[in-house]
Symmetry: C2
Subunit: 418 residues, 2 copies
């Protein structure tokens, strides 16, 4: 069933074998898989896809593995939720949340890319699987390594949120906390991968890993009844996700599986780590690295590997991008929770806040369909909201106490059964 032909350079199109290589030796461009689309077309149909299990492998003709999937049987196919109350607050007509905060098993979009990278790691003969991570990726790599019985190394910056650290440690990888930021961790892992020949999901397996992110795009279209939305807002960190959502859209378009025009894509970054948005606003194609300083640690990447691809897609699709302050991010988390009952992490708060900003700027029109990509779960970083939510009110166990509380502070609130 495999349609994988090989890899090719995104920039100069030089062809490579489908091995653990990720950078073009001609021009240093990133490598990406090439498929036999004619072969894929025979089985990659709406009917076939609809009949398959609800995980990311339902799109397997366009995923870069050669054998059977080995993990991720519960990953992907997350809910696409209409968000009418948030739409009303933002003054728009048709708004959806694509919620990878409930992705199985580790509650972020990383379970998509890691399912693909881990399967491909085994196919390529790796017995050690690892990553450089801001938290969510480490959780996912460690979990899928457990599932496959692979030896696992997770490298993290030493200032990560404690629950994200525990969320990797629980799967018993070797967990190395590097004194430095994510970009330092990533540089170190590149050296380790080269020297020890280990498979790193987001480094030497990156060409395969990134393809898993296309499935978020495939799902959005399938879940809208094979219709393209008009506008899609995605957070940007290393630059994996946004260009691959669009690549997925393009493939569906090319295969005649999506109704309508290709969507406009919008990037969202935290102002404290916004190399891509700054470059976009300055008209530069290749982002200058920055030193991240934001509460949105899961997207605090100052030197994004695929930053230029994000800018390419924002321009090509006719979209745009914005950055928001940490205050606006926390407000965004609150806004999504109080309108739609969804608790997201700061990366999601960034997406919400940027969407609001782009609507206010009239970059995104109010009367067309909008999808916001929520990539991680707020329960992993809940303490960040400690000062922003109402504290629990201590009371005794007597009805009199409840009534006194109601009389004192909530008199006339009403709310009896109608």
């Amino acid at each position: 069933m495999s349609t994988l032909i090989g890899l090719q350079c995104h920039v100069c199109h030089t062809a490579f074998a489908a091995e653990a290589t990720y950078v073009c030796d001609q021009c240093f461009g990133p490598l990406e898989p090439v498929y036999d689309y004619d072969k894929a077309r025979a089985t990659f149909t709406r009917e076939n896809i609809a009949s398959r299990p609800r995980n990311l492998w339902r799109y397997r003709e366009l995923l870069p593995i050669t054998g059977e999937p080995l993990t991720g049987f519960g990953s992907g196919f997350t809910p696409l939720i209409p968000a009418p109350r948030l739409a009303a607050r933002l003054g728009v007509r048709e708004l959806y949340v694509k919620d990878d905060g409930v992705n199985h098993p580790t509650l972020s979009y990383k379970d998509r890319v890691v399912s693909v990278a881990a399967t491909r790691a085994v196919e390529l003969g790796f017995t050690v699987f690892g990553c450089a991570s801001t938290g969510n990726l480490g959780n996912s790599v460690a979990a899928h390594a457990s599932r496959l019985g692979l030896r696992c190394f997770v490298f993290i910056p030493d200032d990560l949120e404690p629950y994200k650290v525990l969320g990797s440690a629980i799967y018993h990888p070797t967990l190395l906390a590097v004194r430095g930021n994510y970009d330092d961790v990533n540089r170190l892992c590149t050296q380790v991968a080269d020297k020890h020949g280990w498979g790193f999901a987001n480094i030497n397996l990156r060409s395969y890993y990134a393809e898993g992110a296309k499935t978020m795009g495939f799902e959005i279209v399938e879940q809208l009844g094979w219709r393209f939305p008009k506008h899609v807002v995605s957070p940007v960190a290393g630059g994996t996700l946004l260009p691959r959502i669009f690549r997925g859209f393009r493939e569906l378009h090319q295969l005649g599986l999506g109704e309508g025009d290709l969507p406009k894509m919008y990037g969202a970054q935290a102002a404290g780590s916004a190399p891509v948005i700054r470059a976009l606003h300055q008209g530069i194609d290749y982002p200058d690295p920055v030193k991240p300083d934001t509460i949105a640690k899961s997207i605090a990447i100052g030197n994004p590997a695929d930053g230029f691809q994000v800018i390419e897609v924002l321009k090509e699709s006719g979209g745009w991008g914005e950055m928001v302050t940490d205050e606006e991010i926390l407000d965004g988390i609150n806004l999504l929770a109080e309108t739609e009952g969804i608790f997201t992490e700061p990366a999601g708060g960034t997406t919400i806040a940027v969407t609001r900003k782009l609507i206010e700027q009239e970059r995104i029109p109010r009367n067309e369909s909008i999808v916001m990509c929520i990539t991680g779960n707020g329960y992993k970083t809940a303490d960040i909201m400690t000062g922003r939510v109402t504290r629990a009110i201590p009371i005794s166990r007597s009805l009199e106490d409840v009534d006194a509380y109601l009389a004192g502070t909530l008199a006339g609130v009403g709310g009896e059964q109608a």
Copy 2:
């Protein structure tokens, strides 16, 4: 499309209108919905169900609402995951995890029951929605109340895990922390519901609420290709879930939609809060209340409302039940994480540990299919595992440091690419 006829007493079968009543005025038995199964049969078919959206409302003919669903459009239809590595560790042939730890939006099975209760609350005219909660229920009630714009009151014991408290507070309910345990909270809420006429999911709306739990049973059978498993292990707290999973099985059996015999049901409790298991082992039908003392706070209910129904089902189905210590619960969490890459909360650890115990006791045979119901997510209570996982190892950002670490403690581990 509604097939809801009314309520009837589980014990004496007295009929009641489908209102916010939950206790029989003749015998004090719990009330449960009655459906027109002949009407349901016309549309409740495998083909129709398969064609519907992937949420709990795909089974709506057998859910107790009269209008359209109002919330829960991403809730339910959680993954049923084969667990081959855990099966090997436990020495059994066919093992599955039903993982409600990734239920949308609040990561526990409560999103099923609350979706139904909240929809019914609106149908019955309530404008205030609340609950007595050990944490997960509060999270879910507050989230769905946000989605529906309902005023919300969540009552919790004052010793809850901080992330579970934040996990309700984020949706901005009125959050009342009662000095006492869950059973004290529940008693208080019963009085509040009576006096103020508010809709409490697990009190005066309990007859509707509990029916939502059937959908976990429906899904297990559908996801196994409309085949019944042989053995199902479920945690027991208030006693809502286990009897309703079985009620769902029975309804499918009655409608001819499941292949094979009805499964044997097994209950799992923490030894520090095991009124149902103690009663079962002593041959008593009605559990004596206990004072809970366990780290498994989400199932720390000493006086379970539906405890006798659990015992009824364990006996009728030919199953059994066991309790495990807090140590065994933490071991269970670790075991699931390191074999299958799934991080569950103590309630899930209880289910894993009890399953292991029942297999060792030969209560569950090794060569038949087993489903373990995982009802909540470990990322909400991650700090409980702090002392049980390997700590992150601090290193500098130099390759030499990594090599020194490997040389010092991991010499000969191998793992290079094969």
